[in-house]
Symmetry: C2
C-alpha cells in the first residue's frame, strides 16, 4: 500500500477549461483576452535568450518593481507568482494548516475548492443570495477567505461595503482575487490600505493578454508577503516570463483601449443574447453568464462546440441551465450570435 495522502486520493483534481491544441475553434471558454499583447513587448525576450543557461532572478526584482509602480505600492508588498493560481496555493500553504477551514462563496472559482481539498483543509461554503451576491458581511473564523471580485462565474463585483465590513471583523486573511479587475470600474486598494489582513491577487493572464506565460502577484502587507515568500518556490518564474511580464506592465497604456473595447463588446454580447431569449447576468468581467430560455444549456454548449465555438458549461446545481461566454472580438461574437440565432431557428 503506497502512501498516497487521503486528501489527495479522495479528490478528483482540478479540471481546467478545455484547451484544444488545434486552432480551428472560436475559443470563448477560458476568459482569455481576444487581443494579443502589443508586439513591442516581445523585444524584452531578446536579452534573455543568451542567458537561458543561467538561473532566473529568484526574487523577480524587475518584475516586482514594475508591478509596484503599476499598482502604486512598494516592491516589499509584492510577491510574484507562476500565475495567480500559484499565489492562491502559496496563500493556502502559508495561512492554513490541514484540518483548518477555508471560506469560499457559493459560487466562485472552483480551483479554491480543489486546492483546499488537496491541502487537507475543510471548505466552508458561504451562502450567497439568488443573484450569487454577498447578502451581508461574512461571519467566519476561517484563517483564509478566498473572495474573487469580480466573482466568477457571474463576473460581478462583490458589494464593497460588505467586503469592507468583512475585512474589519474577520480574524483571518481576506484574499481578494482581482483576476478580472481591469474590465470593471472598481478596485480594492482602499481595503489594502485600511486592513492588514487583506491581500489582493492579480494576474497578467486576462487583461494583459499573457495567459500563456503564467504571471501573477500577491499584494499585501510586507509582514504577510515575507511569510508567503518562504512558501514560494525559489525560482517560480522563468526568465522569459519575468521579462514579458515586466514589459507588459510597462506597456499598460497600450492595453487600456483593449479593455475598453472588450467592455463595449460585452454590452453587444449581452444585448444580442437578451434579444435571442437569454437571461444575461450583469458582468464586470470579460465574460457573461447567460441562461437560454429555449434550449437546455448543455445542449447549447454541445451544438456550439459542433460548430467549432467553445463556451463553458459547469455541471453545478445552481447554474445547470447557464453557459459562461468569454467576450471575444466583435467578429467572434458576431459568429457566436449568428450560430445561436441559427440554432434558435
Amino acid at each position: 500500500m503506497l502512501p498516497i495522502r487521503a486528501s489527495v486520493r479522495q479528490t478528483p483534481g482540478y479540471t481546467p477549461g478545455e484547451q484544444p491544441q488545434t486552432t480551428d475553434f472560436i475559443k470563448l471558454n477560458t476568459n482569455e483576452n481576444p487581443y494579443p499583447p502589443p508586439a513591442s513587448i516581445l523585444a524584452a525576450l531578446e536579452p534573455e535568450l543568451e542567458k537561458l543557461r543561467l538561473y532566473p532572478d529568484p526574487v523577480s526584482r524587475r518584475l516586482r518593481q514594475a508591478a509596484a509602480e503599476t499598482f502604486g505600492v512598494q516592491p516589499e508588498q509584492i510577491l510574484a507568482g507562476n500565475g495567480s493560481d500559484d499565489i492562491l496555493n502559496i496563500a493556502l500553504r502559508t495561512f492554513v494548516d490541514p484540518g483548518q477551514t477555508v471560506g469560499v462563496l457559493d459560487l466562485t472559482y472552483s480551483l479554491y475548492q480543489t486546492l483546499t481539498a488537496v491541502h487537507g483543509a475543510e471548505l466552508e461554503v458561504i451562502a450567497t443570495n439568488e443573484r450569487f451576491e454577498l447578502s451581508g458581511p461574512i461571519i467566519s473564523t476561517a484563517p483564509l477567505l478566498f473572495l474573487a471580485s469580480p466573482n466568477p462565474p457571474v463576473g460581478k463585483h462583490l458589494n464593497k461595503d460588505f467586503l469592507r465590513a468583512t475585512c474589519a471583523r474577520h480574524p483571518g486573511i481576506v484574499l481578494i482575487d482581482e483576476a478580472y479587475i481591469d474590465f470593471g470600474d472598481e478596485d480594492h486598494w482602499d481595503l489594502l490600505a485600511e486592513f492588514e489582513n487583506a491581500i489582493i491577487s492579480r494576474t497578467l493572464s486576462k487583461s494583459y493578454s499573457l495567459a500563456g506565460m503564467r504571471v501573477g502577484f500577491a499584494i499585501g502587507a510586507p509582514a504577510l508577503i515575507r511569510e508567503m515568500d518562504k512558501v514560494r518556490d525559489s525560482y517560480n518564474l522563468d526568465r522569459l516570463a519575468q521579462a514579458l511580464g515586466t514589459a507588459a506592465l510597462k506597456a499598460r497604456a497600450d492595453f487600456i483601449p483593449l479593455w475598453q473595447k472588450i467592455r463595449a463588446t460585452r454590452i453587444r454580447l449581452s444585448q444580442g443574447l437578451t434579444a435571442l431569449g437569454f437571461e444575461v447576468l450583469d458582468s464586470d468581467s470579460n465574460f457573461v453568464l447567460a441562461s437560454p430560455s429555449w434550449i437546455p444549456a448543455p445542449e447549447l454548449y454541445q451544438k456550439l462546440k459542433d460548430r467549432k465555438i467553445l463556451v463553458r458549461y459547469f455541471n453545478h446545481p445552481r447554474i445547470l441551465n447557464f453557459v459562461r461566454i468569454t467576450v471575444g472580438t466583435d467578429a467572434e461574437i458576431d459568429r457566436l450570435l449568428a450560430a445561436v440565432a441559427e440554432l434558435k431557428g
Copy 2:
C-alpha cells in the same frame, strides 16, 4: 494575531545560491552549465509568440512525449514540473501528511529540509559515513525518502546495491533525484522498472543548459504520477518553457559533447586543485567539493568573490572547510586556478 502557520513562521526559508544581476562574475556557484543550449532550439519559440494570450497546454503533452522518448518510458509515467524543485514539492504534498516524516541524507540538497519544514513534516536525517556516502541500505518508515544520486554537495553516485536494497525494503516512496545524472556513468532506470515505489526526478537546468526556463520531470509508475498530477498546478509550465524544453530534449545529441567536455574539465579542475593543496572529493557531477589545506574555506570564498569569482560556501558543521566549485569552461577554470595560485602565493 494573523494566522501564519507555525511551520512557516518557524522556518527561515530557503536561501538559493547567489544570482548576481550583473555579468562581471565568473559564476561557479550554482552548478549551471557553462555552455549555452544550441541556438537551434530557439526556433521553437517562434510559433508560440503569437499565442501568448492563450493558456498553455495544461498537461504539457508535447514536452512529456519528448521526455518519454528520451527516457524510454511512456508519457503516462511522466509528470512535467516547473523545474525539479516543483517536482520535489509536489511529491511531498502527494505522499506526506504534515506531522509525518521525510528521510534525507546527512548531507544532501538543502531544499529537501526547507520544503519539509514549510510543509509541517518532520525531517529524519539518515547518517552517512565519513565520505558522506550510504553505509548500508536505509531502514526507515518515512512515507518519502529524498535521495539525490549523484548526491550534492559531494556529487558522487549513491551505492547502487544499497539503493536497490532500500527500494526493496522501504514501505514508502523512494524519490531518486537525478539532477546531475548526465555528468556521470550510472542511471537508475533499472530500479524504476523493478520497484513500484521508486520515482526518478530530472531537470533540464543542468545538463540541458536551461536553468533559466524551469523544466523538470518526475518519472514513475502511472498510479503514482496520476496522484501527483492532482497536486500539480494545472498550468505549471508556460508556453515558452514547454516549447524550449521539448526542443532541448530533441536536441540531446548536441548536448552529449558538452557533457563530455564538462567531465574532462572536471578532471582538470580536480587535478589543479589537488596540486594547489586541496583535498578534492570524487565527483560524478558538474561540480566538486574541495577543502583547502592552507586557508580557511570562508576566507577563500570571500577572496575569490573579491576577485569576481563566485564559488559556493555552506555554513554546515560537516563541511566547514570546504567550498563547492561548479565546473565552468576551461577558460573559467584556468582563471579560478590562477586566482587560487596567486592567493596561495
